[in-house]
Symmetry: C2
Subunit: 333 residues, 2 copies
Amino acid sequence: MAAMLSMSAGFAEEWLPLPANSPVPDDNPQTATRIELGKQLFFDPRFSSTGTVSCNSCHNLMSGGDDSRATSIGVHGLAGPRNAPTVWNAAFHSVQFWDGRAASLEEQAKGPVVAQVEMGMRSLDDAISRVRRIPGYVDQFRQIFGGDNPVSVDNAARAVAAFERTLITPGSAYDRYVMGDKTAMSEQQQRGMKRFNALGCTGCHRPPAFTGPWLPGGFFVTFPFHDSPYVAKYKLRDDMGREAVTGKPEDRHKYRVPTLRNVALTAPYFHNGGVATLNEAVQVMAASQLGIKLDTGESADIVAFLNTLTGPFPEIALPRLPPTPGESVIPVN
Amino acid sequence: MAAMLSMSAGFAEEWLPLPANSPVPDDNPQTATRIELGKQLFFDPRFSSTGTVSCNSCHNLMSGGDDSRATSIGVHGLAGPRNAPTVWNAAFHSVQFWDGRAASLEEQAKGPVVAQVEMGMRSLDDAISRVRRIPGYVDQFRQIFGGDNPVSVDNAARAVAAFERTLITPGSAYDRYVMGDKTAMSEQQQRGMKRFNALGCTGCHRPPAFTGPWLPGGFFVTFPFHDSPYVAKYKLRDDMGREAVTGKPEDRHKYRVPTLRNVALTAPYFHNGGVATLNEAVQVMAASQLGIKLDTGESADIVAFLNTLTGPFPEIALPRLPPTPGESVIPVN
């Protein structure tokens, strides 16, 4: 049961704990076999041009679901323009990517495979033709999806999305606190929580996932909204944001509001990963979105609160990737 | 109990199954905490210059303990000169690397961290200074190793080696067969086994690990020994082999004999990864080392036998990599 806290100037009407399950679309049920196939595909580097990059390379499930880097590196050492968003709790976002250009996890999963600075395949057809050469995958696709063309790009994306919907972290210190365990958060963390709400952070980062609200078309906010010295220092306006997707000037510098779940594990911060620490990121947000400057104690309290949104992480067994005995699907030359 | 098989022209005096445990040096005992630490380090990409390459990147435990590539790719998209040897059963090799330049797994573990085409750190000191910034590692090193300087390069290498000594695959079809289960191998596989021995393959690839014999200085063989069209076709003599380590002309084109355990999962083949399929690799070995040509049926039988040396693989839980909340050890710029 979620606690109702009285907050004079706040926005969070209800401090909800993260649900035990994430939203699931009707056309992609969470079956055990689908999840297991998706897990194998998620960890398999053979669907990158060089055989070196998997989903997990930039969305590392052994840590914060990202890559500890400012911007990600894909095949051939190429760096992309943006910071890898965490895959943990991505299922609670109504749209995917920083600019919200994918409406679902299924749609998102196809992007990096053919991005030339990520997995670098020439086409999704090339990628799925590698899958078709691996008997252990073909068997699973047949059994799970059936039909005339079970080994398809859409079905691969469905499997990966099903696996990603299991990558959620209910039961954090915050969750336990709002469910009634008043020992789960320290005094400082509780102070930070109240401050986070009183300042208006919850206006965009709403419980339980501390994302924007779930809207079919996505919920987008201009960042940075206010001018500050941070804009130049961290090059915060070099990226056009959602305008590059829609072509509309009113979408300039607009971004989907990212979840703050596990934010302490996803440094460095923001769309370009330009800000090294969480404490500095909190200061940048206060200046850029609220037009205020926090004193040291205030930002420390908020950082302490944000740390209550970390984990716990489900145990995951390393998958066995189905083999092609006696040969490799990666070309020798 | 190992089966004694009568072999008229063979070398394998005894068809030994792989032991349940690998050899362990006196100064690095296999404790649970040491193995667990080594596993975290093995999977942690933060000890490469870019934060993108871990031991597991090229020695993937989800598959054949290698990377499905001809030669490996490290940081900045740089390719090394040699094929990644499998880490599965590496503990049964008396020396490490293709040229045997490391006398132990401990010594081997340090090499790739500072190889500029692999993990690309400037020095081992740089790498260990990153480890020292991660509290969850510091605690483990202290508890496991104690002393004045617990977080050291040598101790990190010990932990990784301890983990690697658990990466063994007893219980394959071959192992079950020689331990008495006569249904574990097909007729063709049994035929291939006899042929493998009768041809003399066991002279170098000896049971139980199908490596060279365990010699303190290593066991090295010239490859290719005989001339054949394969030498030019696959550039088999472009690499100087062990001569590059010792400077001695008599070590030219000499290599440590690699294990054939799981060889069906480690295509492409040889020190330069130039040969795409296991069947072709068997033909190349027959020509290069025995000076003979196998007919199609003979090589197919041997390939069938080699497939009995695959797996089974231990279940491994994905490690949690200790965090640095609110910051990353990878520099932003």
